[in-house]
């Protein structure tokens, strides 16, 4: 029992913590419940107690009043643990405080001086109506994920096993390499580029912190959604013929505010 910290039963230190952000675009609890059910139906414990910051920067309209009890208990039903709010309109602060939610600044959980990292990209405009999990640690981490650390270069996260429906993985600060492809209904997010050897069939979001030079590569292209630095595209009406099922890449072209996604087949594809 007697160690260096004896005498101090509790000690406070600065720490920065990576947490998941939920962009809440609607505060009506019934509509949120509906959207959560659509997204998470059948997987009530997907989040497994994951702490989450609620970000209201993309809120459609400013409600007069928010039923915080309803929202927090709804989230807890899906085992999401709301810990604080961010970008919440001023007049709603008091209510959120009473619901035991912390008011967080732009830096979120960072209690240390902010590190010189690029600010998060413009919010990822995902097609789901609400509460889309933003770039964040994977709720169902893949066991084999092994960061191959270099000296100063950002680490590359290499995943050797297939990523399955319902699984999500986040490569913080660097590239993500999937060696066995990904299934429909899975999601990968990287601050850098995403390389998928094998089928890319779920959602792939590269440049999650705004790196517009990030790209997405796959040897068998067939995603549900791709996004680079917040510019996204879905494929309800099918994948471009020249890329479907083949080796292809996605990148951002254009400049400043005029970015568009370009999908091209890779030359060395026979």
């Amino acid at each position: 029992m007697a160690d260096a910290s004896q005498g101090k039963l509790i000690e406070f230190k600065g720490a920065s913590l990576a947490v998941m952000t939920a962009y809440v675009r609607e505060t009506d609890a019934v509509r949120l419940a509906d959207a959560m059910h659509m997204m998470m139906g059948g997987m009530p414990d997907f989040f497994a107690g994951e702490p989450v910051v609620l970000d209201f920067s993309q809120l459609a309209g400013a409600p007069d009043w928010v039923d915080w009890t309803a929202i927090t208990s709804l989230l807890r039903r899906y085992q999401v643990q709301p810990i604080g709010v961010r970008h919440l309109p001023e007049h709603l602060h008091e209510g959120a405080r009473r619901a035991n939610l912390a008011m967080l600044g732009k830096e979120g959980m960072s209690a240390e001086r902010p590190v010189a990292t690029p600010q998060p990209a413009a919010p990822v405009p995902q097609p789901e109506p609400v509460a889309a999990p933003a770039p964040a640690p994977a709720p169902e981490p893949v066991a084999e994920a092994q960061p191959a650390t270099g000296n100063t270069a950002a680490p590359t996260l290499i995943v050797e096993r297939p990523l399955r429906s319902g699984q999500q993985i986040y490569a913080k600060g660097g590239d993500l390499v999937l060696l066995a492809g990904m299934s429909p209904g899975s999601e990968v997010i990287a601050d850098g580029s995403i390389h998928v050897y094998g089928p890319l069939r779920g959602r792939a979001l590269a440049g999650a912190r705004g790196d517009t030079s990030a790209r997405i590569f796959s040897t068998n292209f067939g995603p549900e959604l791709v996004s680079i630095a917040g510019v996204y595209r879905t494929f309800e009406r099918g994948i471009p013929q020249n890329a479907a099922g083949r080796a292809a890449q996605v990148r951002l072209i254009g400049s400043d505010n005029q970015h568009t996604l370009e999908i091209t087949p890779l030359q060395n594809d026979h």
Partner: protein, 271 residues
């Protein structure tokens, strides 16, 4: 060392129990001391297919709760000497199965010298299914050649990766096998069903076999005889092949291509 094999699928009614009965019987026929456990709390099922429903006194939950010991609850199979069945409980209480309880039962089976323990999982991805796969060393994921079944198999593979003890403890991952059941080469030919190649391409798991769709399965279950024992039946041969491949023997795939009935067959009938 006892190997624990879970037979799982996500989707219901795809042939897990049929497969559990045949594979456990097949392993026992090869001389391995084998137990098959029904995890489908509330729905007794395996005991009917094994034809031992009239001899069920105690079940898995009784053993977990200490109301019976393992030897009392294990039912000796009527076809194979070294096969034992641990039936499901009829209790509605879904919490009756605890992780510690299941772990203890598996440990006891190991002490009794069992080579294989086959766990017949309930459908779904909830508690019961997770309990059945928690301690698995190998998983046979049963899928029918249709999109919804494949999707659910994919989910259950993800859960194996995250919820199995092997995954949680960072040991070598659960060894995965894909078994496609209720396969009809004719319907594949006609474009009404995914081919086994499609299914394997979607799931990217090594294929351990393809079981054809056959009325023999219903007939076998009505008799309380696992399908692998049937005489002159494609289903029996296909399950025997699966057991052989499980034991690392090479067997080419059979019953996967459709041959249009020739003129003689069309004239004179017959299977």
């Amino acid at each position: 060392m006892t190997r624990v094999i879970v037979i799982t699928s996500g989707k219901g009614g795809v042939g897990k129990t049929t497969t559990s009965a045949s594979i456990s019987s097949g392993l026992a026929l090869r001389g391995f001391k084998t137990a098959v456990i029904d995890f489908d709390v509330g729905l007794r099922n395996l005991d009917l297919i094994m034809g031992c429903e009239r001899r069920v006194v105690y079940d898995l939950v009784n053993v977990i709760n200490g109301e019976a010991n393992l030897s009392q609850a294990l039912i000796k199979d009527k076809h194979c000497d070294n096969l034992f069945i641990l039936p499901a409980s009829q209790t509605r209480d879904k919490d009756a199965l605890t992780e510690e309880g299941v772990e203890k039962v598996l440990k006891d089976l190991s002490h009794q010298g069992f080579d294989y323990v086959v766990c017949d999982s309930p459908a779904g991805i909830e508690r019961g299914a997770v309990m059945a796969l928690t301690f698995a060393d190998e998983a046979i994921v049963v899928s029918n050649p249709e999109v919804s079944s494949v999707r659910d198999s994919d989910r259950i593979l993800g859960i194996l990766q995250s919820k199995s003890r092997r995954a949680i403890e960072g040991r070598e991952p659960v060894k995965e096998h894909l078994l496609i059941t209720r396969y009809s080469p004719k319907r594949v030919e006609e474009g009404e069903m995914l081919s086994y190649k499609d299914v394997q391409e979607l799931l990217r798991v090594p294929l351990i076999g393809v079981i054809p769709e056959s009325d023999d399965v219903l007939q076998a279950s009505n008799q309380g005889t696992p399908a692998i024992h049937l005489k002159d039946s494609d289903v029996a041969f296909a399950y025997q092949d699966v057991v052989a491949r499980f034991l690392s023997e090479d067997r080419p795939l059979r019953f996967v291509s459709y041959e249009k009935p020739g003129i003689l067959k069309r004239l004179f009938g017959g299977k």
